[in-house]
Symmetry: C2
Subunit: 324 residues, 2 copies
């Protein structure tokens, strides 16, 4: 068995060899650019790991894994236009470096290229791999739409939010694992359990991200904390705090999340004071623990020796414990 890091390296090597040299270069340059920005290559590496879990040949899963990563980067590209984000992985986003039209169209092309790679799965698995991928692709779009809806929606519940991050973030992790499992020859039940492992873990992952955005060690996290607070993002922390707050605290929190202050430091400080008072950090950690445990329960059900599962267990634990 490879470690996750080995597999991330294999994916990185594959991307190093992958250049889209076709014309017009105005279309393919941005595609090469965003794929070269790197990232952890987590989803394709998990796809390979799941393939190995069922004694599959990882070479058969590499192209579909690349397809998943191309799709993931396509969603980042289009999301960045919608969010008007200027920076991605420390570099200008495509719509800034080029322009929004280029970003729309190279994104569209990446989506088609993603399908190309997905369909390089071995013939016997093509139909199933396609189904998982396509369902996932649609759900990711739905998740992004909910995320945009929530920006202007007042009555977002915690369960609405959990469903949104399930769609926007978790199903792609889950789908990556399931596609790897299918190519590895897993039976239906095992493939479904590995999917649910990924789905629950994906939710835990996003909740951890929410938590780190407010409470991480800035030196380790690599970016300023409080970004979600400044942009009034209705994260789990905010929704939980608002649910638990009473009286003047509830009112204040509501008001703070309508503000766009010129000096955000004061706002971050105030919101975090309320979060601390309400023990929101502990409540979020409890929710993460809940999803983490659900994930491990699904992994337990997979009919494979515990030794083989150990790399996924290690990965899940790291994800929960990470402080950056």
């Amino acid at each position: 068995m490879h470690t996750l890091e080995d597999l991330q390296q294999i994916i990185n090597d594959s991307f190093d060899k992958l250049k889209f040299d076709q014309k017009p270069k105005e279309l393919y340059d941005p595609i090469n650019y965003i794929l070269d920005l790197g990232g952890k290559r987590l989803r394709p590496a998990l796809c390979l790991l799941a393939c190995e879990l069922f004694d599959g040949v990882i070479q058969q899963a590499i192209s579909p894994a690349l397809g998943i990563e191309i799709f993931h980067n396509f969603t980042l590209l289009h999301d960045d236009i919608m969010d008007e984000a200027p920076i991605r992985r420390g570099k200008p986003t495509v719509h800034i470096k080029w322009n929004p039209n280029v970003a729309i169209l190279s994104g569209d092309t990446m989506m088609a290229l993603a399908y190309d790679y997905i369909m390089k799965a071995p013939g016997e698995f093509q139909q199933e791999v396609f189904s998982v991928f396509n369902k996932t692709a649609i759900e990711v779009c739905e998740g992004q739409q909910y995320d945009m809806n929530f920006e202007i929606q007042d009555d977002v519940s915690i369960s609405d939010y959990l469903e949104m991050i399930r769609l926007k973030t978790a199903v792609l992790l889950a789908g990556s694992l399931k596609i790897g499992a299918i190519i590895g020859g897993a039976n239906k039940e095992d493939a479904e359990n590995i999917y649910l492992f990924g789905e629950k873990l994906g939710v835990a992952f996003q909740l951890k991200d929410d938590l780190l955005d407010a409470f991480s060690d800035e030196n380790k996290f690599g970016k300023k904390t409080g970004g979600d607070i400044v942009t009034n993002k209705k994260t789990f922390l905010y929704l939980k705090a608002f649910e638990m707050a009473e009286g003047s605290n509830k009112e204040l929190l509501g008001l703070l999340f309508q503000e766009n202050p010129i000096d955000p430091a004061k706002k971050i400080k105030k919101v975090k004071e309320i979060y601390r008072e309400l023990r929101v950090e502990a409540a979020t950690k409890k929710e993460i623990e809940l999803y983490y445990n659900m994930a491990l329960n699904y992994l337990d059900k997979v009919n494979v020796s515990p030794e083989k599962k150990s790399e996924l267990v290690r990965f899940a634990y790291q994800l929960k414990q990470r402080d950056y």
Copy 2:
């Protein structure tokens, strides 16, 4: 054999039954909206026609045909954002009626939905149908990129332009026919010839569109002529005129196509005077005739009785002769 009109009706009936009721409605409403705007449903109808040409069962081709039309409407949706077009088929475009973010994201979702329908082709043909479709999807994006490039590119040649419209317009007509042929059980050679018939005809179709934009009967064409002239679009007419013009005419034409006049009527009049002087209309008709004849030559090679081909021959002739 059905007529093309019968098949257009079958496609329209299928779209009437097709409603995307999923949530979030903010994502699916625009998809239903653009699909309900109608249009001639030419591509899916041609897909069914090609299926019948080879004695296929059109029911097997309906879902892929719908996939093609969903894809086509997705390209219109994203193109309209890029072109900042306010109106499509007499109604506000999606990015105007909603907003650009909604238009980007529902477009992305339509692309995934298109693949869903494409992959409903019978199992034995799935891989081949997918390949044709995916190659086509990528080429359409390339064509759109060339089209955008040409807006700011000075040295566009006639062959550059023909290649652009081949990619942007013709390959989707060609791919629709080929997908239908594959599902109808055509052999490789016949499927390729029907593809090339569609490709050449698609180029003729776009050239005819260029011609009608300048020289149609406005009452029949349903929109004002001269739109391409006003927006300085480097159509076949302009490129041909510029190639043939000499001296002061060439200079004047070049200058006119850098202008954005407040009163465009005068500019249209001047440009059309030059076109008339240079007999650009005749030159364009000659080019259309050339592609039309190439198309028919490929159709001739298809190993099917002339009676069965007659509907495609009629369609090609109508396309060439249409005056709106």
